[in-house]
Each structure stands twice: as structure tokens, then as C-alpha cells.
């Protein structure tokens, strides 16, 4: 696609949303202007804040975007309890441990399911507030209170499961799990040079 044909399609959308009403836009390239040359020479532009440039970049404290479901379940908090399905990925997990893990999760599954269903039912109410553009998302204090209560219950259940599972893991596996969460465990990928396979 050329710039010209991109332009004709984009124009329609821009007309809808900007009050500029840019009509008959022809995207013919122009010679680089002075700003670009100055930027290249100085290593700075109008957005450069010298006080800020050496700060290690980071995400904002409030970790948004956890995923709507997860955020609703856990809020912004991050805890030391791992995602239980990741436990199954521990390379050293034995079949016995696998069964124990499954049993531990089974014991709280029904309760968890009830809580999750209740939470799911509350979601449209909070989503409705969000799409209406109200700050904070949830307007009704009662709904907010219900969600907070459910969050506490879900968290308590997760803690209970973890307390049951944790003693079944060896010290080495706990270290392995921590390394996995930090991205330090060699991922279980086939990341090897070709050895004998792939005959040509």
C-alpha cells in the first residue's frame, strides 16, 4: 500500500473524530525540516527533560492492565502466592506431587467457583460505570463493598490452598519456583543447536 492509498482510508476515520476536518490530504513526502536535523545534532527535542533522562524507566506504581478479571479479583495487590497452574510447569515435580497438588486445589474448587461466579455477576455493573466514563469505575458503594468482600474471601481461599501446597514442595522446588517467577529459570524450550536432525 502506498502512502496515498493509506491516506484515503485513514482520512475517513480522522474526519469522524477530529474537529480539524482535514480534507483532501495528499501524502506526498516532503524534505526533512529543520527540527529533525536539529534533533539529530543535539540529541534533544522539545520533550527532553534533562532532569528526567537518567532515571531508570519503569511502569507506574499502580499496575494497571492486570487483565480485567484478575484485577477485579485481586485489585492492584501482588502477593507471594504463585499462579497455581505454573506449579505444574516445575520440571522436578513428581507424579505423586502432581496428584497432591491436584487434590489440594480440588478441595477448594467448589468454594472458589461460587465466589468467582458472584464476582462475574458483579462485573457488568462495574463495566457499565467504566464505559460511562465515571472515574473510579464503580459508582455504587454497595457494589464496591461486595467486590472488596469477595476479593478478601478469594484471597483467603488462595492462601489456604497455598498453605496446603507449599509443604508438599521441596526447598529446591520453592527456589525453582521463585527463579521461574523472576525469569531466571531456563525456560523449558527446545533451544538447542541442530544435532544430527534435519538431514539435508
Amino acid at each position: 500500500m502506498t502512502g496515498r492509498s493509506c491516506s484515503s482510508m485513514l482520512r475517513l476515520h480522522v474526519l469522524l473524530f477530529t474537529f480539524l476536518g482535514c480534507s483532501s490530504l495528499a501524502l506526498l513526502p516532503s524534505v526533512a525540516g529543520p527540527a529533525m536535523v536539529e534533533e539529530a545534532a543535539s540529541g534533544q527535542n522539545i520533550f527532553s527533560c534533562s532532569e528526567d533522562s537518567n532515571v531508570v524507566p519503569s511502569f507506574t506504581e499502580e499496575r494497571g492492565g492486570e487483565g480485567r478479571a484478575r484485577k477485579m479479583l485481586l485489585g492492584n495487590q501482588r502477593d507471594d502466592i504463585p499462579d497455581f497452574k505454573q506449579l505444574k510447569m516445575l520440571p522436578s515435580l513428581t507424579m505423586v506431587q502432581r496428584r497432591e497438588l491436584k487434590a489440594a486445589l480440588e478441595s477448594t474448587r467448589a468454594q472458589m467457583q461460587v465466589l468467582l461466579t458472584k464476582m462475574k455477576q458483579l462485573r457488568p455493573k462495574s463495566e457499565g460505570a467504566r464505559s460511562a466514563g465515571r472515574p473510579g469505575g464503580i459508582v455504587d458503594p454497595q457494589v464496591r463493598a461486595q467486590i472488596l468482600q469477595l476479593r478478601t474471601q478469594i484471597q483467603a481461599l488462595r492462601t489456604k490452598s497455598w498453605e496446603e501446597i507449599k509443604p508438599k514442595l521441596t526447598q529446591g522446588q520453592l527456589i525453582e519456583l521463585a527463579a521461574m517467577r523472576k525469569g531466571e529459570l531456563q525456560p523449558a524450550t527446545f533451544n538447542e543447536p541442530m544435532t544430527g536432525g534435519g538431514r539435508q
Binding site: 502512502g3 491516506s7 527540527a35 524507566p57 511502569f59 510447569m89 541442530m194
Partner: protein
């Protein structure tokens, strides 16, 4: 350089395609290297000291077993790496071997696959395909775990031909059936790839005219050397880097490089980035920015170092949910990025990012100081400065005139000869940047 344009002009173009845009600091460094030097550096990430990125990442407390953290980790890499082509190619392979955590449901396996693509980003396609075929996330994604002797599952065999190598129409149904048998027993365990001998079909097979007791490795080797594969990959890579409608002559040139270099992707990508067609008016602003390009490019231009934790969701709403491509074909790209809802999301993002940046800047300087420091003494100069910075001044005169008119008015829209106060100047600056970021040209890479 082509068309009488400066090195700076084409380096900017290069960095939008082979990277995600550029900060002024980076631009200064690349300009010192020149166009060829920049291409060399981009193509040889192993020679670039990227330790600062790794150190910064360690301070971020990402949880690699949580998919949303993994998305943030990757966005962070794209934004702050000193090896942008490595990340751009990682994104290419992610789209090519499109695997979604929606089904894999295992963030750490997705992390492993992502690391694999990064390691082989500019490597040999034979090795990439070989490793991707044995990757746990891929095995789960395309059901090879269920591909057993006597009960072959054809998913992987079909996609490896249709989507990863030959392209549709260049193989038969029989080829798929036979290749599926060759991949039987290729499974995954938590410890990684596992060849289940008991489930492997050791019988004779014929794939694309080659017969024997073929296994998956053999099928991979057969596929990578097909002429159709060279054309398929060349077309896809030209579309990714240069323009959406490559002509057969260019495809043929790039496909030849693939064959003569024995599938060396570094050479293939170099051939594209130095091809006369890439450095031509035809390629300039000829591609619609993907959400990754739009978001990361904006962060770079505006030099935003405090990232919104919601960025993965923002990109998802724009149509590119990292690590969760929509289907086995990956993202269609091109015009598919543009729809009413995704454009609205782009405009909302522009608004948010502009507001954030100017609020941040106001801690250091007043709006008046900001424009004074750049010598922007008139509405025309102000508009030209931002048009150059954000869209390479690639707008018609009528658009420029409207922007000048916008700046030359007060908050009620009444024309004024001088901006009356600091508050109005601040609002006009924010508004101007936002308006330029919603122009059609800003959506183009």
C-alpha cells in the same frame, strides 16, 4: 541517498521500520554512524552493549509466570532496548509462528518461546523452524501433544506448510498427512521437548516428493529449501518492513538472497533494508503503524520513561494483544489495523500520552519556557516544529494552515494575535500535539 533526502531523513525512516521509532539521543548516535553503519549495528545486536536494559529490567519486579507482566516486560524491551531490530524481528516471528497464551495457558512457556525468537531473531531459518517445531508452547498450541502413531493430528503439519513455509497452494493434502506422521511423538514435558518413541510412526513416508523413513527434522529440512518457502518468506518480510504490495521483481531479489545464503535471515533482512525500493518515495510513510509501532514510537518521541501499566490493554484495544494473536495466522496488519474502534483507541492514547507528558514537563518548565527554549516565537514556527518532529512535515498546506489557525486562537476559538496567558499556551501546546498525533500521517510508519 535516494530522492535528494538527507541521511537523517532515511535513518528516521529506517528506525521506524527496523525498530519502533527513535529518541533524539538515539537519533544522534545513529546519525553519527550513517545509514550503512546504522544498518550494520541493527543487524548485529550481539555487538551492542545492551546491559543497561537487562539491569533496568531486573529492577522492575516482573513476574514471568503472569501473562500481563510478560506483556509489560516485552513492551519495556521494545521501548528501551539498544537493539531495536532484534525486538522487531522477535515480534515478526511471534506473528509468523503466531502462538496464543489463550490456549497455551502457560506464561512461562510463552516466555520461553519469546526468548527463543529473540535468540534466533536474525539467525538461520532452518534453525528457527527446527527450534520452533520443538518448542513446548508451539506443541501445545498446535496440538502436537495429541499427534500419535496411528492417530495422527494434522494441525502442526498443516500450519508448518501453509503458514510457516510454503504458503497455501504449494502442497497437497497427502503431503500434510505424511508430514503429520513424521511429527508423531513430538511432545512436551515440563522439562521441555520430549520425543515419545512409542508414539512415533517409523514407517515410510513421502513429503513433497522426498521419500524415506522421515521424521520431523527431515520435514523441516525439506521445507526450508523449497523455492516457494523463499518467496513466501520474502513476501512476508517485505510487507513487514517496506510496503504492503511488493512487486515480483523485489520478491525475487530477496528470495534469491534467502536461497544463496542458505536461509540466513540476517542477509535477507539486510537485502530488504538496503534495497533501492526500501529507500524510495514508494516506501516512505507507506505502511500503517502497528499498535506496537504506534505506542512505542510515541513513547520514544515524547521520551516517556514512566510507562502506564495499562499499555498491554491499550495495545490490545488497538488490535494487537501481545502473546495473544487472534488466530494461527497472526495479525493481518496493513489496513486491518484500522477500524472505527481501533482508531478511537489510537486517539484516546494520543490524548492520554500528551496529557501525561505535558503534566510531567510542567514540573520542570512552564509552557512559555518550553517554547522560548526552542525559539518558537510564532504560531507558524510552533506548528512547523511539531509537524517536523511528529510527521516529518508530511502534511498538505491546508492542514498546516488549520493547525496554525488553531494555535492562533484563544480557548473559545476566537482568533488572537498573541496567546493571552500561560494557561492558554499550555492548552494550545497539548492540543496541537494531540491533533498532530491524530492526523492520518501520524498513523503511518
Amino acid at each position: 541517498m535516494t530522492g535528494g533526502k538527507s541521511d537523517v531523513f532515511w535513518i528516521n525512516h529506517l528506525l521506524r521500520r527496523a525498530g519502533f521509532g527513535v529518541t533524539p539521543r538515539e537519533l544522534k548516535r545513529y546519525v553519527a554512524l550513517g545509514y550503512d553503519g546504522t544498518v550494520n549495528e541493527l543487524l548485529n545486536p550481539e555487538n551492542v552493549d545492551n546491559m543497561q536494559l537487562e539491569e533496568s529490567i531486573k529492577q522492575q519486579d516482573f513476574d514471568y509466570t503472569a501473562i500481563n507482566d510478560l506483556k509489560r516486560w516485552w513492551i519495556y524491551r521494545m521501548a528501551f532496548t539498544r537493539c531495536p531490530l532484534e525486538e522487531k524481528m522477535t515480534l515478526f516471528w511471534h506473528g509468523h509462528f503466531a502462538t496464543s497464551d489463550r490456549k497455551v495457558n502457560n506464561a512461562y512457556a510463552m516466555y520461553g518461546q519469546n526468548m527463543l525468537f529473540r535468540k534466533h531473531a536474525l539467525g538461520n531459518f532452518h534453525e528457527i523452524l527446527y527450534n520452533a517445531s520443538k518448542d513446548p508452547a508451539m506443541i501445545l498450541w498446535l496440538d502436537n501433544q495429541q499427534n500419535r502413531k496411528g492417530k495422527p493430528n494434522e494441525n502442526y503439519a498443516r500450519e508448518i506448510m501453509e503458514l510457516f513455509t510454503l504458503g497455501i497452494g504449494n502442497y497437497s493434502e497427502q503431503d500434510i498427512k505424511e508430514a503429520a506422521r513424521a511429527f508423531t511423538g513430538w511432545q512436551t514435558l515440563p522439562s521441555g521437548f520430549f520425543f515419545n518413541q512409542r508414539q512415533h510412526d517409523y514407517g515410510a513416508k513421502t513429503v513433497l516428493g522426498v521419500s524415506g523413513n522421515l521424521n520431523g527434522d527431515d520435514v523441516v529440512a525439506i521445507l526450508v529449501k523449497q523455492k516457494e518457502t523463499s518467496k513466501f518468506l520474502a513476501t512476508k518480510l517485505i510487507k513487514y518492513f517496506a510496503f504492503d504490495d511488493p512487486d515480483p521483481a523485489m520478491v525475487s531479489r530477496i528470495a534469491d538472497v534467502y536461497m544463496t545464503s542458505k536461509y540466513n535471515m540476517r542477509k535477507v533482512v539486510r537485502a530488504i533494508l538496503t534495497d533501492p525500493a526500501f529507500l524510495s518515495e514508494r516506501a516512505f510513510h507507506a505502511k500503517i503503524k502497528s499498535p506496537a509501532e504506534l505506542v512505542i514510537g510515541s513513547l520514544k518521541t515524547l521520551q516517556i520513561r514512566k510507562l502506564d501499566g495499562d499499555l498491554p490493554m491499550t495495545m490490545a484495544r488497538m488490535g494487537q494483544d501481545l502473546l495473544m494473536p487472534p488466530n494461527v495466522k497472526g495479525w493481518d496488519g496493513g489496513t486491518a489495523w484500522i477500524a472505527t474502534d481501533t482508531m478511537m483507541e489510537r486517539f484516546n492514547f494520543a490524548n492520554r500520552v500528551t496529557t501525561t507528558k505535558f503534566s510531567e514537563m510542567s514540573k520542570f518548565s512552564s509552557a512559555q519556557e518550553i517554547v522560548d527554549n526552542q525559539g518558537l516565537t510564532s504560531a507558524g514556527k510552533l506548528v512547523d516544529y511539531f509537524l517536523d518532529l511528529l510527521v516529518d512535515a508530511d502534511v498538505p498546506a491546508s492542514t498546516r494552515a488549520k493547525l496554525v489557525s488553531y494555535v492562533s486562537s484563544d480557548l473559545s476559538g476566537k482568533p488572537v494575535s498573541n496567546i493571552p496567558d500561560e494557561k492558554t499556551l499550555d492548552a494550545k501546546l497539548r492540543g496541537l500535539v494531540h491533533l498532530i498525533m491524530t492526523l492520518p500521517t501520524y498513523q503511518l510508519a
